[in-house]
């Protein structure tokens, strides 16, 4: 969240009238938390987190909340919520302890190339479409900054396949307006060490996304 805020800050520095900004909504389905709603709200203020809306909904309604609020990216630590949200076409990401050590100064988004180059067979699943449009928007944001000192950074990792996969993915992302900063072709090497080294805040794939391994 702090990294998202940093991006917003820098976007507004570049253009005070900028409209393409991150808007953060806090959603909770936890009834316990809902009873402490004022505490939740004051806590976010305490940490200087810019949350524009608080949605205290029930488990049944939370998908509706996501859709009503036109959510482009849903972050949660609950696997069920990720599955549910993905099924309705909302790009969802499973967070874990690794995310906690990521930078608060630069938002690092990792694209998993193996999914990117998969040929389009048949109708596009909802989440793939959503992921594509979301990443295009991120790409637009990235363009507002230069090569150096960008508060937003894109990493491409292709796990399988050789350099052709990597090249294909780079070109595919470029055609979508996503200019990648760092690219890694692992060609079968384990991804774990790279993830802890690169420390992305989240991974984008088609549909279900999450920091596994």
């Amino acid at each position: 969240l702090q990294a998202l805020q940093k991006v917003n800050e820098r976007l507004l520095e570049e253009n005070p009238a900028e409209s393409l900004l991150f808007d953060v909504i806090l959603i909770t389905t936890d009834s316990q938390q809902q009873q402490q709603s004022s505490r939740v709200i004051s806590s976010t203020r305490h940490y200087g987190l810019e949350v524009s809306r608080f949605c205290f909904s029930s488990e049944e309604d939370f998908i509706e909340s996501l859709q009503k609020n036109n959510v482009k990216l849903f972050l949660t630590t609950d696997t069920n919520e990720v599955t549910q949200a993905s099924q309705t076409g909302v790009v969802s990401v499973l967070l874990d302890q690794q995310t906690a050590v990521c930078s608060s100064e630069q938002l690092r988004v990792m694209f998993c190339g193996d999914a990117v180059i998969r040929p389009d067979t048949g109708p596009m699943p909802l989440t793939r479409q959503a992921a594509q449009s979301f990443s295009t928007q991120l790409g637009e944001m990235r363009q507002k900054f230069g090569m150096f000192d960008s508060p937003l950074s894109f990493i491409l990792v292709t796990s399988h396949g050789g350099r052709e996969s990597c090249r294909g993915a780079l070109q595919m992302l470029r055609s979508r307006g996503v200019s990648v900063d760092e690219a890694y072709c692992l060609a079968g090497a384990p991804r774990g060490p790279m993830l802890s080294l690169l420390q992305p805040h989240f991974l984008l794939r088609d549909g279900y996304s999450g920091l596994e391994e």
Partner: protein, 327 residues
């Protein structure tokens, strides 16, 4: 192959390919212009750099290994590392394709700034790197400090032709294969004391140096050829090219190697004579030395020579420069 099974050689793009022109643009016109130029010339392949023939020779060894051991993962694995923007990577991939590299080459790129302390050596460690070659001496020193065999590669003005079928690797002894302990004695007490000391300690193995592990890895592959009756036709050949002399100090070097269970195909004791001419005869794909004097001498005669910035020789050079400065 899985990184643990393979012998992983990480090379930086500037030593695998000739990027002089692009480097100039970066230095004179800055990063954005540099990237722009690279993208504009994306489909234009780079020409070979000093590490090129070395990597091609690695490929040749892999081909022979696959013939004999089709299921083994004990092969050379080359990782291309660059401190460049991902789009330069596109041009690099295009170049590799152009030169028909069949090596399963993992292409690794890193954006230049926003490094956030992710030094190359952490990536090297993540890939179980056995040898790291770069044009950047700082990165090489960092890698050595992490215990990774590394050397700074220089481009000779003209490169002598080398074999396309047999990989030849030449090593200096002290502060490369061996520790710098004997060099320290030489620098502190002179040649006579050095000979005395080496003779007295002939049977005491020297401590290991930064490139011992790499020689060991080469030896492991060599044994795979010997195991199939291909000792005479082995596509890997190793050389020791040392200023030690055969008559005296050389014995300790050979005994040390033997104590480590390592073989070296040819040991050349030059007794202080310049290494350039000998290397010109051997024609190694790569030569490692800890002293710039020898690296330069080799390069002058067309050998691809790499500097291993390890041991007492580095400090002495720095001290000399410092003394000159204060004077």
């Amino acid at each position: 192959p899985k990184p643990e099974n393979a012998i992983t050689i990480a090379v930086s793009s500037r030593v695998l390919f000739n990027m002089e022109k692009e480097q100039q643009i970066y230095e004179q016109q800055g990063m954005e212009e540099y990237i722009k130029y690279q993208v504009e010339h994306e489909t234009q392949p780079f020409s070979p750099g000093p590490a090129f023939s070395f990597v091609k020779a690695l490929e040749a060894v892999n081909t022979r290994l696959r013939e004999l051991y089709p299921d083994s993962e004990e092969l050379f694995d080359v990782v291309l590392m660059t401190n460049n923007h991902a789009y330069v990577g596109l041009r690099l991939i295009n170049t590799i394709n152009h030169h028909h590299f069949d090596l399963l080459c993992r292409v690794v790129h890193r954006a230049l700034l926003y490094d956030r302390g992710k030094q190359s050596h952490r990536l090297l460690k993540a890939y179980h790197t056995n040898l790291y070659l770069s044009a950047d001496p700082t990165k090489v020193r960092e890698a050595l400090e992490e215990g990774i065999a590394a050397a700074t590669m220089f481009t000779p003005e003209k490169m002598t032709e080398v074999s396309e079928t047999q990989l030849r690797v030449a090593f200096d002894g002290d502060a490369v294969l061996f520790s710098d302990e004997s060099e320290r004695i030489y620098k502190a007490h002179g040649l006579d004391k050095f000979f005395e000391h080496e003779k007295a300690h002939e049977n005491k193995p020297l401590d290991h140096g930064p490139l011992k592990g790499f020689l060991e890895a080469l030896g492991k592959l060599q044994k795979k050829f010997y195991g199939k009756g291909q000792r005479m036709d082995c596509p890997i050949r190793t050389y020791l090219v040392t200023a030690r002399s055969a008559a005296s100090s050389g014995t300790r070097a050979l005994k040390t190697l033997r104590s480590w269970g390592l073989e070296i195909d040819e040991a050349l004791f030059l007794a202080g004579a310049p290494k350039g001419p000998m290397l010109e005869k051997i024609r190694p794909h790569i030569f490692f030395d800890d002293q710039m004097f020898h690296v330069e001498g080799a390069a002058e005669m067309g050998t691809v020579a790499c500097h291993v910035p390890y041991g007492i020789a580095q400090r002495v050079t720095k001290k000399v420069i410092k003394d000159l400065e204060t004077e």
